[in-house]
Amino acid sequence: MKMMKRTPLVLAAAALLAASAALAATVTVLVQETTLRKRPQFFAPSAGTARLGQTFESEDAVEGWYKVSRGYLHHSAVTTKSVHLGSEEGVGGGASVDEITLAGKGFNAQVEKSYGAKNSGANFSAVDALERRSVGESALLSFLRAGGLLPTGAAQ
């Protein structure tokens, strides 16, 4: 009888354990650089920077943000798929899309250089120049504040 009473509790605990294992995920950064946020929203204060290939253990996901130990990462910057990066063996067509990004293979700088040599009309120096133009976090926040565009509760 005593065992019968405990059974639902044990089952509930097991279900909880299974659920938390299912929610937990390893996320890998797939963009060159992204900001870890203290809260799950853009323009929330920075909690650090995460770079291409860095992995984090996530215990929860909140409206498109993965909660990791140091803060929150936006889902569009990471993958939850298992990623192997073996630089010695190389990455080929048998590799996943994400592995191609992390290994820098596929269409890459080497292919671009070869393409540029064949296409003299392509103006890569102008592309390099436009890529140097970027607005930093504090300038962007000032722009938003001044223009009445700052979301409620952001960057406090």
Partner: protein, 296 residues
């Protein structure tokens, strides 16, 4: 009791173990003697991954390099406007609406260049590259209209419209070359074949962006998504309609403004109403800085 506890915990234990533990399992016993324990299961798992097949399987970094080459072609045809103030202003507004899009994070971020052309047009290359002509900026009346135009371009990138114009055969050939376990650097022969496939992919996107334009469905989709991104950024999403209205008035006189876009009247007819967000409010500062920056 102990047995019941073990049964209940089994799913959790299985989830916790994960695929990394595959090689530790006694596969000979599990398979009834059909699979030897000498087989390295991690290598088997890696070997059975299917070859990449289509546009959806272009990686983040490959999209970036395709976008760079498309941009280099556009900047080979159009002269970039050498005006730091206006380029920085347009870049800032683009970063604002990109943050509220479906794809705020992209391999190396979003970048905008104003083109020194009287043509009225805008282009979005894969990988986050956006081009707006001086002629288009002259037709805008406010920062909210600029935000809607840029958000429309961000939508093309977020929804990978440029990549979807690449012929599958080009990718198939590139992926087949990559199928032979490429080492750190490509051999000259592999590089030649990859460059040919890359060149074809870039041509496909450039022709679609600069010559033919996207399909009407993709333009209408980008209009709607752009209005939503503008709304999310607390801009007036109705500014998309007010801009198109003025373009439609000009086009009604027989003059075609957007060479690679559907007529503005048709775009207006397809544009669904999007109400401003609760945090939207008019701003004299937005009016001031728009007038100061876009004084062409």
């Amino acid at each position: 009791m102990k047995r019941l506890f073990m049964i209940a915990l089994a799913p959790a234990a299985f989830l916790a173990a994960g695929c990394a533990e595959l090689q530790k399992m006694d596969m000979n016993k599990l398979s009834g003697g059909r699979i030897s324990n000498n087989v390295d299961l991690t290598k088997v798992a890696k070997g059975v991954k299917a070859l990449r097949k289509g546009v959806e399987e272009i990686s983040e970094s490959e999209e970036y390099y395709i976008g760079r080459a498309v941009s280099a072609q556009i900047l080979g045809r159009y002269k970039p406007l050498n005006d730091a103030k206006i380029n920085l202003y347009v870049q800032t507004v683009a970063q604002v609406v990109a943050r509220t899009s479906d794809r705020p994070e992209i391999f190396k971020g979003y970048h905008v260049q104003v083109l020194d052309s009287e043509e009225v047009n805008a282009f979005a290359a894969p990988g986050g590259f956006i081009f707006v002509t001086k002629g288009l900026l002259k037709r805008l009346k406010s920062e909210d209209e600029l935000a809607c135009v840029l958000a429309h371009e961000v939508a093309h990138i977020a929804q990978k419209h440029g990549l979807k114009t690449i012929q599958t055969s080009r990718l198939t050939s590139a992926f087949a070359i990559l199928g032979s376990e490429v080492a750190k650097n490509y051999t000259p022969s592999q590089l030649t074949q990859l460059t040919t496939a890359f060149e074809g992919a870039v041509d496909d996107v450039v022709n679609k962006l600069v010559v033919n334009g996207y399909s009407r469905d993709k333009e209408y989709e980008a209009d709607h998504s752009g209005a939503l991104y503008a709304k999310n950024a607390s801009y007036d999403p109705g500014a998309m309609r007010s801009f198109l209205e003025r373009v439609a008035q000009v086009e009604s006189s027989g003059m075609s403004l957007f060479k690679t876009h559907p007529p503005a009247g048709k775009r207006m007819a397809e544009l669904r109403a999007v109400d401003p967000s609760a945090s939207y409010r008019r701003s004299t500062e937005r009016e001031r800085r728009f007038s100061a920056a876009v004084a062409l």
